[in-house]
Point group: C2
C-alpha cells in the first residue's frame, strides 16, 4: 500500500493518466488521491499551488519528495521501485533506444492533439483563425499516420517499443486513448485501433480509466473525420 504517496489529479487529463498507469504497473495502489475539477479551476487552488507553483495536475508527492511533471513521475517511480511490479524499462540496447525515442515523440504527439482539441481553450477568441486550426488538424493527421506506420512495422499485438510493455506505453497511451475518445476511426487507422483495443484490456489501464468517460461512454466525436 502506497500510503506515503499523494496524487492530485483531473479526470481525462492525459498527463494525470500517465502517472496513474505507472502507479498501477508498479503495484502502488492505495495512495492518497484527490480528484480535482479543471472546470472549477481547482488546479489553481492553494492546495495545488503549495506543492506545484505551476498550478497544474498531476501534482504528486512521495513522502516529502514532490515530482509533478508526469514524465518525471513515471521515470521516478520506475527508478525507485525497480524490482516491484512490472519492469518498465527494457534491458536490451535496441529496445531501450526505441522506448526513449517513442516516449519523446509522444510529447509532440500530445502537443499536436491538444493544438486541435483544446484550440478554443488555448487561443482567445479574437486571435483564432480557421487557417490555424486547419493547419493544426493537418499536423495531427500527419502525426497519426506516422504512429500508424510505426505500429504497422512492428507487427500485430505489439506495444509501442516492441514486444514488451514499457514506459513508452505508459506515457503515450493516454494520448491515443484520448484520440479515440474524440472519435478517431479505427477503420482508417487499424493499427492504432488494434493497439487501443489491446491496451484497454490491460489491468493498469482499466483501473485508471477516466471516471467521467465511464459515466458518459460516448465522447465528442470531433476527430472522426481525420
Amino acid at each position: 500500500m502506497a500510503k506515503d504517496m499523494t496524487l492530485l489529479w483531473g479526470t481525462g487529463s492525459p498527463p494525470c493518466w500517465r502517472v496513474m498507469i505507472a502507479l498501477e504497473e508498479k503495484n502502488l495502489q492505495g495512495y492518497n488521491q484527490k480528484l480535482l475539477s479543471f472546470d472549477k479551476m481547482e488546479h489553481k487552488s492553494q492546495q495545488v499551488l503549495d506543492l506545484n507553483p505551476r498550478g497544474q495536475l498531476p501534482t504528486f508527492k512521495h513522502g516529502d519528495t514532490v515530482v509533478n511533471e508526469s514524465y518525471a513521475a513515471c521515470f521516478y517511480l520506475e527508478s525507485q521501485f525497480k524490482s516491484q511490479g512490472n519492469k518498465l524499462i527494457p534491458d536490451g540496447q535496441k529496445e531501450q533506444a526505441l522506448m526513449y525515442q517513442r516516449m519523446f515523440e509522444g510529447l509532440t504527439f500530445y502537443e499536436k492533439l491538444t493544438a486541435v482539441i483544446y484550440y478554443e481553450w488555448f487561443v482567445p477568441e479574437e486571435e483564432r483563425h480557421d487557417s490555424a486550426l486547419k493547419r493544426n488538424k493537418e499536423a495531427l493527421t500527419a502525426e497519426l499516420k506516422l504512429w500508424e506506420s510505426y505500429l504497422e512495422k512492428l507487427g500485430p499485438n505489439t506495444y509501442l517499443a516492441g514486444p514488451a510493455f514499457t514506459l513508452a506505453d505508459v506515457t503515450v497511451f493516454p494520448t491515443i486513448g484520448t484520440i479515440f475518445r474524440y472519435g478517431l476511426s479505427a477503420e482508417r487507422y487499424p493499427n492504432l485501433g488494434a493497439y487501443h483495443a489491446l491496451m484497454k484490456e490491460r489491468p493498469s489501464v482499466k483501473a485508471s480509466w477516466p471516471p467521467h468517460w465511464l459515466e458518459n461512454p460516448k465522447g465528442d466525436d470531433s476527430l472522426k473525420d481525420l
Copy 2:
C-alpha cells in the same frame, strides 16, 4: 573514439546542443558529424529524412540504432555508457526526483522561449497578433522568475538539481544559454546569470559552444528587457 556514432546537427539549436553536451560528458568524442543549415532547409534533406521521418535536427545514430529526439538520445547515452565519463543520473532519491522534475519543466521553459524568439517563424503573417506575442513574453518572464527562484533556493555555485551536474543541466542549459545570447540581463536575473557563467566554463559546454556564436559574439538582444 565514437566512430560508430553519427550526429547531424544545426548550430544554435538547443536540442542539438543537448546531445552534443551529453556526448562530451560521456567522453564520446570523435563521432562523425555534419553541420547542416536550417536556413537552407537542409534538415528536410533526404540524408536527414532517411534517418528521421520528422526531418528534424538533431538526427543521431549509434551503430544501426537511431535515436533522434534530444532527450531520448541523452537518456540513451547515459544508459549505454553508465560507467564512462561523468555520471549524469545521481543515485540519491531526492536528487533523482529533482533532476527528473527540472528536466521536464525544462521542456516547458524551452517551449516558452521559442514561442517568443521564433514567433514569426512559427506563425504566418496574417495570423500574428501583438496580444499573442505580448502574452508569450509575459509567460516567458514568469518562467524566468520561476527558474531564478529555483536557483536562489539551492544557493550559490549549484547545478539545476543540486550540487551534482546531471542530465537536468545537459538538457536545460542550452535553453538558458540561448536566452542570454538573446540579451537577458544577468543583473535582473543574478542566479541565472551565475549559473550561466558557471556552465560556460564547463569543458563539455565549451567544446560544443555554437560555432556561429563564436564567429559573431554579439547576438540579437531582443530579450534584454524581460
